[in-house]
């Protein structure tokens, strides 16, 4: 079948060269993956095209790139699935990482994030002989995160990293989860405290779900981050704006049946934290100028009791 690739090119050696798109129209087998198509281009049409790839079987994690705006492993994406009628496919390098050339991005961003979470097991002491004793369930549970092949797709499409490059990021936090949930690791409390307190830590995720959607290995990094938050709270880490935010959200909806946004901002900052409260002033003024300031006295839901019933049911089940 005929397919039409529109590939973003970038050559640091070409003087003053700006990123630009180049189109390749090629004839491929109907079952071809996008990687097959790109390899064909590289080998038969244009030897200057740079991309990474190796295993062709979604296990090495080399070939993450953006296709039609979304990060994917191109080795496990068939052309016909995205472009059954030969529609044009736009292929670009992954986002949130610096481009080296064409579709190749620097590895440093991703692996520097991984290194931040001290990604190795830290037991207090090892068994004198034999293995650690651990349940099969606990090990199977960790498979979720061990399935991560470090392809970088989640980092590419993370909306927080787009605006804050200090965020530890979805893959590294999933890696951190792999250790906090490992019964053989003895630094769980310390790890949770660090992830809780650190700038760019677990509370900086905005729960946009992009990482869950683009992960080719079902690691679901955001779910792991939410589990880290629960675990951090349970371990007693409650003096953070993240926790206050969660608590305020919870109480506000329980009380009024709706979210009290003004109170949420104040609760999150912390009533005794003067500097943080002062930080809110310009934001509030800006919002007021644009008519976006939430009401100081919250609207209440019409049937609050129904919402309280839901709370009671859920809280009852948790107990």
């Amino acid at each position: 079948m005929q397919t039409n690739l529109k590939v973003k090119r970038q050559d640091p050696e070409a003087n003053g060269s700006q990123p630009h798109f180049q189109e390749y129209s090629i004839d491929i087998h109907p079952d071809s993956t996008i990687l097959d198509a790109l390899i064909y281009v590289r080998e038969e049409v244009d030897g200057t095209l740079a991309l990474r790839c190796s295993c062709r079987a979604s296990i090495c994690g080399s070939c993450g790139m953006k296709v039609n705006g979304r990060a994917r492993l191109v080795c496990k994406t068939r052309v016909a699935d995205l472009a059954p009628e030969g529609e044009q496919l736009t292929v670009e390098p992954m986002g949130n990482q610096r481009v080296i050339k064409d579709l190749v991005v620097t590895l440093d961003t991703f692996f520097d994030q991984i290194k931040r979470v001290e990604p190795y097991m830290k037991p207090d002491k090892e068994p004198e002989s034999g293995e650690f004793i651990a349940s099969n369930e606990s090990m199977t549970n960790l498979l979720t995160a061990m399935n991560c092949i470090m392809c970088g797709c989640c980092v590419s499409d993370c909306t927080v990293l787009e605006v804050d490059d200090n965020f530890i990021g979805p893959a590294a936090l999933a890696k951190a989860w792999r250790f906090t949930e490992d019964p053989r690791d003895d630094q769980r409390d310390q790890r949770l405290k660090t992830l809780n307190d650190e700038d760019g830590g677990i509370w900086d995720c905005t729960r946009c779900m992009q990482c869950v959607e683009v992960c080719p290995k079902d690691v679901a990094p955001m779910d792991r981050i939410m589990e880290l938050r629960d675990a951090a709270i349970e371990a007693g880490n409650r003096d953070t704006h993240g926790y206050h935010h969660t608590e305020s959200f919870y109480n506000s909806v329980k009380k009024n049946g709706r979210l009290d946004e003004s109170r949420l901002a104040l609760d999150s900052a912390g009533w005794t934290s003067i500097p943080r409260l002062l930080d809110l002033v310009p934001v509030g003024l800006k919002a007021m100028m644009k008519g976006k300031l939430p009401p100081l006295f919250p609207h209440k839901a019409e049937d609050k009791q129904k919402i309280r019933d839901v709370y009671e049911k859920v809280e009852g089940e948790r107990e």
């Binding site: 200057t48 991309l51 080399s62 097991m121």
Partner: protein
């Protein structure tokens, strides 16, 4: 100027295990790798790692005998004894580093069965064992501060006064060529699967380490021993782990018969890989296949079991063929998978060249002989990666300063690469590679004979000539010039192909994976021997070497 005590080429399991050892022993150690460590092909090992755990009643001699029988008695038995007796310790060490091996109800390590063995002694992590091990060893490398030259491609070894003293390497990100001096170089650069087309191997498996050693004067041994894996996915050639059969899957022909009843009535689907691959090829050749494949049937295992223990297999069957393993048998066929042959080393990773060590798939210790057992390759990497590092540490401590004139080597290598880049037109890498690799598969397949092998060697010679006369690199840039790297890889592959075809033509018998239809019997009287080839100015020189037999006399091999 870069300088180390120990430089390891390759960051897969053998390389990282060796690297960690070097750092722990206080050496200035570094790993150099053409891809990031977690991209290494060790990832692809799915099913598990064999180890006889003696603390729970298994005996290492049992594993040793299964390995030796699997090798069709070509393995050196002293080396196998070392591997089998150190295996338990190696697996427990991995567990303590953090590998999330599957467990039994008692919370201790659980096992599954694998081919060529009656005892369940294969430890595993779902169907991602290699990946789970590689990522944990990478964690250990970070923990110990192991220095890694990421995306640096080694183009040649520095050899002076008969000893290896470093490497010349291309930094892919900048395109600059550098000399890196090292008192010892340990090649852990993986296999050469891409010499064949198709192959289960990743595109990076281009035999770089094998060729580097060969050019430095070290012999390659038993290169004719090419493993065809019995279960590679139809059309794509993607590997489906032996774990499927280990967990009870059937092989069926087009009549729905379990044809392994004929070839291996006792072991059935879990006979050695060479035996199963041949049985499949016979079914296909005799018209009982399904479009050039046979069928792997997992349906009776049940959906939950498949998804929990064989998750990756389900993933690829669905993704690539749209087949749900719980509902439908999947078409598979034998596919080139592993090279038992490699750089001749002893059980301490020493080659015949001072300062040059090897471990992992590029080495031949020899523990796999004429056919490797499934789940012995991961074991090989860990046991011999560690041992080779230990020996090289001793060597490094025993020699003085590295006085090699690395700049002279660097200058010569720059000129060689520039000449390649200066050629204005010619033949593309893919054109020569495809012709070589399909020729190798045709000539040196599951079945082979004098004619076919001569055809393969002639093809290799023809492609070597064409390469030398006209290879052409279209990309003239410096930054991430993969076009140049592929041309250099093909240069390495042509060496490997020549060594494979040479070994194949030497061996006048059938043994393990080397099955000649014109000489179908094993000949212990004349061929209980390794084939050796040396690269020299005058061409390839060959020798043979007796197999080491300790306590297991060769007997007829029946499964």
């Amino acid at each position: 100027m870069y300088e180390h005590d120990l430089l390891i080429v390759g960051a897969g399991l053998a390389g990282l295990r060796a690297g960690v050892e070097g750092v722990q022993k206080g050496l200035r150690t570094a790993v150099i790798t053409k891809v990031h460590p977690v991209r290494s092909h060790s990832n692809a090992a799915q099913g598990g790692i064999n180890a006889p755990l003696t603390d729970r009643g298994d005996e290492w001699e049992g594993h040793a005998l299964d390995t030796i029988k699997g090798s069709d008695y070509l393995a050196d038995q002293d080396a196998v004894e070392i591997m089998s007796s150190e295996a338990g310790d190696a697996v427990l060490e991995l567990e303590r580093m953090g590998v999330i091996f599957s467990r039994g109800d008692d919370g201790r390590l659980g096992t599954r069965r694998f081919g060529g063995q009656k005892v369940a002694r294969t430890f595993f992590v779902g169907a991602i064992t290699g990946s789970a091990m590689l990522h944990v060893l990478y964690e250990q490398a970070l923990k110990h501060g192991l220095q890694v030259y990421e995306e640096w491609f080694v183009t040649s070894l520095i050899k002076e006064e008969g000893a290896v003293r470093g490497v010349i390497a291309l930094d892919m990100k900048t395109g600059e060529l550098h000399a890196i001096r090292a008192k010892a170089v340990l090649l852990a650069a993986g296999g050469a699967g891409r010499v064949f087309e198709p192959s289960t191997n990743a595109l990076i498996c281009t035999g770089d380490g094998l060729s580097l050693a060969w050019r430095a004067g070290a012999p390659l041994m038993d290169m004719e021993m090419i493993q065809y894996h019995p279960t590679t996915l139809a059309r794509t050639g993607i590997l489906l782990s032996e774990a499927a059969r280990g967990e009870g899957a059937y092989l069926l022909n087009s009549d729905g018969e379990r044809f392994m009843e004929k070839a291996a009535p006792d072991y059935m689907e879990l006979a050695s890989r060479d035996v199963v691959s041949r049985a499949e090829q016979v079914e296909i050749n005799e018209g009982r296949g399904v479009d050039g494949n046979v069928l792997l049937d997992l349906r009776h295992l049940g959906r939950t079991f498949i998804e929990e223990r064989l998750g990756y297999l389900q993933e690829v069957a669905v993704e690539f063929l749209g087949i749900d393993l719980a509902e439908q048998p999947v078409p598979i066929r034998p596919g080139m998978h592993y090279i038992m042959g490699g750089i001749k080393t002893n059980a301490d990773g020493e080659t015949e060249i001072p300062g040059l060590y090897a471990a992992g798939e590029c080495a031949n210790v020899s523990v796999h002989g004429a056919n490797r057992l499934g789940a012995n390759s991961l074991l090989d990497t860990i046991v011999f990666g560690r041992r080779a590092a230990k020996k090289s540490v001793e060597y490094v401590k025993s020699i003085g300063e590295n006085g090699s004139d690395s700049e002279a080597h660097l200058k010569a290598e720059k000129e060689r690469l520039q000449a390649l880049l200066d050629r204005p037109k010619g033949a593309r890498t893919a054109e020569i590679r495809n012709e070589m690799a399909t020729g190798m598969t045709e000539g040196i397949g599951v079945f082979r004979d004098q004619n076919s092998m001569e055809g393969a060697l002639a093809k290799v010679h023809e492609m070597r000539k064409k390469y030398d006369a006209s290879i052409y690199v279209e990309n003239k840039g410096k930054v991430f010039n993969t076009d140049l790297m592929f041309a250099l890889e093909l240069d390495f592959m042509l060496d490997c192909a020549e060594a494979v075809a040479t070994g194949a033509l030497m061996r006048k018998e059938s043994r393990g994976a080397h099955f000649r239809t014109d000489m179908p019997d094993r000949d212990d009287e004349n061929w209980l021997k390794h084939t050796l080839s040396y690269k020299s100015e005058e061409g390839v020189r060959t020798e043979t070497l007796d197999v080491v037999v300790t306590k297991w006399e060769p007997v007829k091999r029946v499964y």
